[in-house]
Symmetry: C2
Subunit: 170 residues, 2 copies
């Protein structure tokens, strides 16, 4: 697995019918802390009557075990291409204004967001549905792996919702 | 219609079976600017793996007319009681950690939020569904009226989704 550097400029979406809108869709895979305010501002538009956001956060427990921290690892160019594909799919299904999908890599401490999705829309239903689709699709298709660290010891854990065959943990 | 002062302490929810949780549910009707960050922090919990937010924002157009600004008017004690009822209904339907529902009154300029809902949950589905239910139910049941001001002149407009018979505009 390669490093976690984000290099969006190196990646193109592969579908010639892509609806990814580089002026209004923002994706990032970064080791920096994520900011809900930044995601909100990225999608803010005076034409939008609604902004929906979803933040996935490291919680302090999993399967009854105390989580000390999470680490995420991604092959950033592929992850970014997949995030762009999700934007494209959202635009093919819903009428939205702007989309932001940010994923963090590296250590994400308990209480901190590892992923933020924000969608602005004229009407609320499309934004709410698009945000939900976005996080479900991200979990299923974006090659980002997590390592959960428990009080009892380390445990590698692949993304359990990832649909394609991914490198499995131990 | 009474003023816009918020006086949560004066109001009790009426159902004896209320699931409103005063430690974890936060409702407010205020003439102050709303803060997404404040709503996020209100529902943040290290036990939560997800925070969903919805912001309803004054957009710059409606029915092809340019919107100059919106004004919201509420009878705050009743509005707050209804917001608490929504929290209670959410808790009866979904397993969520914390809920915040804030509504602004008075003038809400284009681009600013008039309502913010935030829900934290262990798993994402419950929070996403609860936030959507929350805004749909708010539109349908909370007695808050809006006056839309167009470039072409004023127009009173009641909440078009409000289900009970409300005082109609002119």
């Amino acid at each position: 697995m390669a490093g976690i550097q984000s290099d969006p400029s190196a990646v193109d979406t592969r579908s010639s019918a892509s609806k990814f809108d580089p002026q209004n869709d923002f994706v990032n895979v970064t080791s920096e802390a994520l900011s809900l305010d930044a995601a909100y501002k990225a999608v803010h538009s005076t034409a939008a009557g609604a902004i929906t956001t979803f933040s996935g956060i490291t919680r302090d427990n999993f399967d009854g075990k105390k989580v000390v921290r999470l680490e995420y690892e991604a092959y950033a160019p592929m992850a970014i291409a997949k995030l762009k594909d999700i934007c494209s799919e959202i635009r093919s299904k819903w009428d939205v204004c702007k989309i932001a999908i940010f994923h963090r890599t590296g250590v994400v401490d308990v209480g901190e967001p590892s992923v933020i999705i924000a969608v602005s829309s004229v009407h609320r239903a499309s934004g709410l549905e698009a945000a939900r689709f976005g996080i479900d699709e991200l979990k299923a298709t974006v090659p980002i792996w997590k390592k959960e660290l428990y009080e009892s010891g380390d445990l590698w854990k692949e993304n359990s919702e990832f649909k394609p065959k991914a490198a499995s943990g131990d």
